[in-house]
Protein backbone atom coordinates (compact mmCIF):
# COMPACT_ATOMS: atom_id res chain seq x y z
CA UNK A 1 0.00 0.00 0.00
CA UNK A 2 1.16 3.52 -0.60
CA UNK A 3 -0.02 7.09 -0.85
CA UNK A 4 -3.40 7.37 -2.54
CA UNK A 5 -2.03 9.21 -5.52
CA UNK A 6 -4.57 9.74 -8.24
CA UNK A 7 -2.71 7.37 -10.54
CA UNK A 8 -3.48 4.49 -8.16
CA UNK A 9 -7.23 4.99 -8.33
CA UNK A 10 -9.25 3.49 -11.11
CA UNK A 11 -9.44 5.57 -14.32
CA UNK A 12 -13.07 6.63 -13.92
CA UNK A 13 -12.53 7.86 -10.37
CA UNK A 14 -9.30 9.53 -11.41
CA UNK A 15 -11.08 11.36 -14.22
CA UNK A 16 -13.87 12.40 -11.87
CA UNK A 17 -11.54 13.68 -9.17
CA UNK A 18 -9.45 15.66 -11.59
CA UNK A 19 -12.45 17.61 -12.81
CA UNK A 20 -14.65 17.60 -9.73
CA UNK A 21 -14.33 21.21 -8.59
CA UNK A 22 -14.94 20.51 -4.89
CA UNK A 23 -15.58 23.09 -2.25
CA UNK A 24 -12.90 25.68 -1.77
CA UNK A 25 -12.57 28.06 1.16
CA UNK A 26 -10.18 30.89 1.87
CA UNK A 27 -10.64 31.06 5.61
CA UNK A 28 -10.63 28.55 8.47
CA UNK A 29 -12.78 28.57 11.60
CA UNK A 30 -10.63 28.35 14.74
CA UNK A 31 -11.57 27.30 18.26
CA UNK A 32 -8.37 26.87 20.31
CA UNK A 33 -8.34 24.01 22.80
CA UNK A 34 -8.45 25.76 26.16
CA UNK A 35 -8.33 22.82 28.57
CA UNK A 36 -6.04 19.75 28.72
CA UNK A 37 -7.15 16.69 26.74
CA UNK A 38 -7.39 14.64 29.93
CA UNK A 39 -10.22 16.92 31.01
CA UNK A 40 -12.02 16.98 27.64
CA UNK A 41 -15.26 15.31 26.64
CA UNK A 42 -14.65 13.76 23.23
CA UNK A 43 -17.00 12.71 20.42
CA UNK A 44 -16.15 10.81 17.24
CA UNK A 45 -17.43 11.37 13.72
CA UNK A 46 -16.86 9.09 10.76
CA UNK A 47 -17.84 9.38 7.12
CA UNK A 48 -17.57 5.61 6.64
CA UNK A 49 -21.35 5.27 6.41
CA UNK A 50 -21.71 2.97 9.43
CA UNK A 51 -25.18 2.37 10.87
CA UNK A 52 -26.77 0.06 13.43
CA UNK A 53 -29.53 -2.54 13.33
CA UNK A 54 -32.85 -0.70 13.25
CA UNK A 55 -31.39 2.35 11.51
CA UNK A 56 -31.85 3.04 7.81
CA UNK A 57 -28.87 2.26 5.62
CA UNK A 58 -27.36 5.22 3.77
CA UNK A 59 -28.14 5.93 0.15
CA UNK A 60 -25.87 7.46 -2.47
CA UNK A 61 -25.26 11.19 -1.94
CA UNK A 62 -27.07 10.88 1.38
CA UNK A 63 -26.34 13.93 3.58
CA UNK A 64 -28.17 12.52 6.63
CA UNK A 65 -26.46 11.08 9.70
CA UNK A 66 -26.88 8.24 12.18
CA UNK A 67 -26.43 8.60 15.92
CA UNK A 68 -24.09 5.93 17.32
CA UNK A 69 -24.50 5.45 21.11
CA UNK A 70 -21.22 5.29 23.01
CA UNK A 71 -22.34 2.00 24.57
CA UNK A 72 -22.36 -0.07 21.34
CA UNK A 73 -20.04 -2.93 20.54
CA UNK A 74 -18.06 -1.91 17.47
CA UNK A 75 -18.61 -5.30 15.82
CA UNK A 76 -22.32 -4.41 15.63
CA UNK A 77 -21.65 -1.59 13.17
CA UNK A 78 -23.04 -2.31 9.74
CA UNK A 79 -22.42 -1.03 6.28
CA UNK A 80 -19.53 1.11 5.58
CA UNK A 81 -20.28 2.73 2.29
CA UNK A 82 -19.64 0.83 -0.89
CA UNK A 83 -17.56 2.65 -3.42
CA UNK A 84 -15.33 1.59 -6.26
CA UNK A 85 -12.93 4.29 -5.04
CA UNK A 86 -11.67 2.19 -2.15
CA UNK A 87 -11.28 -1.27 -0.71
CA UNK A 88 -13.83 -1.78 2.07
CA UNK A 89 -12.33 -5.04 3.35
CA UNK A 90 -10.35 -3.27 6.05
CA UNK A 91 -13.29 -1.56 7.77
CA UNK A 92 -15.39 -4.72 7.46
CA UNK A 93 -12.65 -6.56 9.36
CA UNK A 94 -12.17 -3.81 11.95
CA UNK A 95 -14.51 -0.78 12.11
CA UNK A 96 -11.91 0.95 14.33
CA UNK A 97 -9.96 1.56 11.13
CA UNK A 98 -12.41 4.39 10.30
CA UNK A 99 -14.28 4.79 13.61
CA UNK A 100 -11.76 4.23 16.40
CA UNK A 101 -14.21 3.92 19.30
CA UNK A 102 -12.40 1.01 20.97
CA UNK A 103 -9.12 2.95 20.80
CA UNK A 104 -10.75 6.00 22.42
CA UNK A 105 -12.24 3.78 25.13
CA UNK A 106 -8.66 2.71 25.89
CA UNK A 107 -7.54 6.36 25.99
CA UNK A 108 -10.43 7.10 28.38
CA UNK A 109 -9.46 4.16 30.61
CA UNK A 110 -5.83 5.36 30.64
CA UNK A 111 -6.94 8.86 31.58
CA UNK A 112 -5.49 10.40 28.40
CA UNK A 113 -8.87 11.96 27.54
CA UNK A 114 -11.44 13.11 30.07
CA UNK A 115 -14.46 11.13 28.88
CA UNK A 116 -16.32 10.00 25.78
CA UNK A 117 -19.62 11.65 24.91
CA UNK A 118 -22.69 9.41 25.25
CA UNK A 119 -23.14 9.53 21.47
CA UNK A 120 -21.14 9.80 18.26
CA UNK A 121 -22.18 10.36 14.64
CA UNK A 122 -21.81 8.56 11.34
CA UNK A 123 -22.19 10.18 7.94
CA UNK A 124 -21.97 8.82 4.42
CA UNK A 125 -18.91 9.50 2.31
CA UNK A 126 -18.73 10.08 -1.44
CA UNK A 127 -21.11 13.03 -1.24
CA UNK A 128 -20.71 14.94 -4.50
CA UNK A 129 -23.58 17.36 -3.80
CA UNK A 130 -22.81 18.51 -0.28
CA UNK A 131 -25.18 21.51 -0.03
CA UNK A 132 -27.59 19.81 2.39
CA UNK A 133 -24.58 18.70 4.45
CA UNK A 134 -23.18 22.24 4.61
CA UNK A 135 -26.51 23.98 5.21
CA UNK A 136 -28.40 21.50 7.35
CA UNK A 137 -26.98 18.28 8.70
CA UNK A 138 -23.41 19.30 9.63
CA UNK A 139 -24.59 22.42 11.55
CA UNK A 140 -27.34 20.32 13.17
CA UNK A 141 -24.81 17.77 14.49
CA UNK A 142 -22.57 20.66 15.60
CA UNK A 143 -25.43 22.07 17.70
CA UNK A 144 -26.18 18.64 19.20
CA UNK A 145 -22.52 18.22 20.21
CA UNK A 146 -22.45 21.73 21.65
CA UNK A 147 -25.59 20.96 23.69
CA UNK A 148 -23.81 17.80 24.91
CA UNK A 149 -20.94 20.06 26.14
CA UNK A 150 -18.42 18.23 23.95
CA UNK A 151 -14.93 19.83 24.00
CA UNK A 152 -13.18 17.89 21.23
CA UNK A 153 -14.38 16.13 18.07
CA UNK A 154 -12.18 13.60 16.26
CA UNK A 155 -13.16 13.02 12.63
CA UNK A 156 -12.18 10.15 10.37
CA UNK A 157 -12.83 9.66 6.64
CA UNK A 158 -12.67 6.34 4.90
Amino acid sequence: MGMPFLRELNPLIRFFMRFYPGKQYNTTPHTPLRIPLNECKVALITTAGFFLDGQNPFELNDCSYREIPNSIQTDKLKGGHKSSAYDEQGIETDPNLAFPLDRFRELEAEGKIGSLNHRHFSFMGSITKPMALIKNTAPEVAQILKADSVDVVFLTPV
Binding site: M1, G2, T47, F123, F154, L155, T156
Partner: protein, 87 residues
Protein backbone atom coordinates in the same frame (compact mmCIF):
# COMPACT_ATOMS: atom_id res chain seq x y z
CA UNK B 1 -15.38 12.56 -1.39
CA UNK B 2 -15.20 11.28 2.17
CA UNK B 3 -12.27 13.53 2.87
CA UNK B 4 -14.21 16.56 1.65
CA UNK B 5 -17.21 15.59 3.80
CA UNK B 6 -14.99 15.29 6.86
CA UNK B 7 -13.59 18.77 6.25
CA UNK B 8 -17.03 20.30 5.76
CA UNK B 9 -18.43 18.70 8.93
CA UNK B 10 -15.26 19.67 10.82
CA UNK B 11 -15.64 23.32 9.80
CA UNK B 12 -19.29 23.36 10.97
CA UNK B 13 -18.34 21.93 14.37
CA UNK B 14 -15.36 24.24 14.92
CA UNK B 15 -17.64 27.17 14.01
CA UNK B 16 -19.91 26.51 17.01
CA UNK B 17 -16.94 26.65 19.38
CA UNK B 18 -15.77 23.02 19.62
CA UNK B 19 -12.11 22.15 18.88
CA UNK B 20 -11.65 19.54 16.16
CA UNK B 21 -8.99 17.35 14.56
CA UNK B 22 -9.24 15.02 11.60
CA UNK B 23 -7.35 12.49 9.53
CA UNK B 24 -7.07 12.93 5.79
CA UNK B 25 -5.97 10.66 2.97
CA UNK B 26 -6.24 13.26 0.21
CA UNK B 27 -3.99 16.28 0.57
CA UNK B 28 -5.37 18.31 -2.36
CA UNK B 29 -8.98 18.13 -1.19
CA UNK B 30 -8.08 19.04 2.39
CA UNK B 31 -6.02 22.00 1.19
CA UNK B 32 -9.13 23.34 -0.53
CA UNK B 33 -11.59 22.74 2.32
CA UNK B 34 -9.14 24.10 4.93
CA UNK B 35 -10.36 22.39 8.10
CA UNK B 36 -8.55 23.77 11.18
CA UNK B 37 -6.34 20.73 11.95
CA UNK B 38 -5.69 17.60 9.89
CA UNK B 39 -3.11 14.83 9.77
CA UNK B 40 -2.21 13.50 6.32
CA UNK B 41 -1.60 9.74 6.56
CA UNK B 42 0.29 7.61 4.00
CA UNK B 43 -2.40 4.98 3.41
CA UNK B 44 -4.86 4.03 0.73
CA UNK B 45 -8.48 5.11 0.78
CA UNK B 46 -10.37 2.85 3.19
CA UNK B 47 -7.41 2.65 5.63
CA UNK B 48 -7.27 5.97 7.51
CA UNK B 49 -5.92 4.35 10.69
CA UNK B 50 -3.40 2.23 8.85
CA UNK B 51 -4.30 -1.41 9.40
CA UNK B 52 -7.27 -3.40 10.72
CA UNK B 53 -6.72 -5.07 14.09
CA UNK B 54 -3.47 -3.20 14.72
CA UNK B 55 -4.22 -1.23 17.91
CA UNK B 56 -0.59 -0.16 18.32
CA UNK B 57 -0.49 1.52 14.91
CA UNK B 58 -4.01 2.93 15.35
CA UNK B 59 -3.00 4.47 18.70
CA UNK B 60 0.15 5.95 17.18
CA UNK B 61 -1.89 7.66 14.45
CA UNK B 62 -4.50 8.91 16.94
CA UNK B 63 -1.72 10.31 19.16
CA UNK B 64 -0.17 12.12 16.20
CA UNK B 65 -3.57 13.54 15.29
CA UNK B 66 -4.35 14.73 18.83
CA UNK B 67 -0.86 16.29 19.00
CA UNK B 68 -2.05 18.82 16.40
CA UNK B 69 -3.76 20.60 19.31
CA UNK B 70 -0.29 21.41 20.67
CA UNK B 71 0.88 22.94 17.40
CA UNK B 72 1.42 26.69 17.68
CA UNK B 73 0.83 27.38 13.97
CA UNK B 74 -2.23 29.31 12.95
CA UNK B 75 -4.94 27.02 11.45
CA UNK B 76 -5.38 25.60 8.89
CA UNK B 77 -2.79 23.11 10.16
CA UNK B 78 -2.05 20.21 7.81
CA UNK B 79 0.79 17.96 9.01
CA UNK B 80 2.20 14.87 7.36
CA UNK B 81 2.13 11.77 9.53
CA UNK B 82 5.48 10.32 10.64
CA UNK B 83 4.17 6.80 10.08
CA UNK B 84 5.84 4.85 7.30
CA UNK B 85 3.63 3.54 4.59
CA UNK B 86 3.05 -0.19 4.56
CA UNK B 87 5.20 -2.39 2.43
Amino acid sequence: MCNQSVGLIQRAIEEVGISTVSITLLEDITKKVKPPRALLVPYNLGYPLGEPNNPVLQHAIIAETLALFECDDEPPILKVSQQREEK
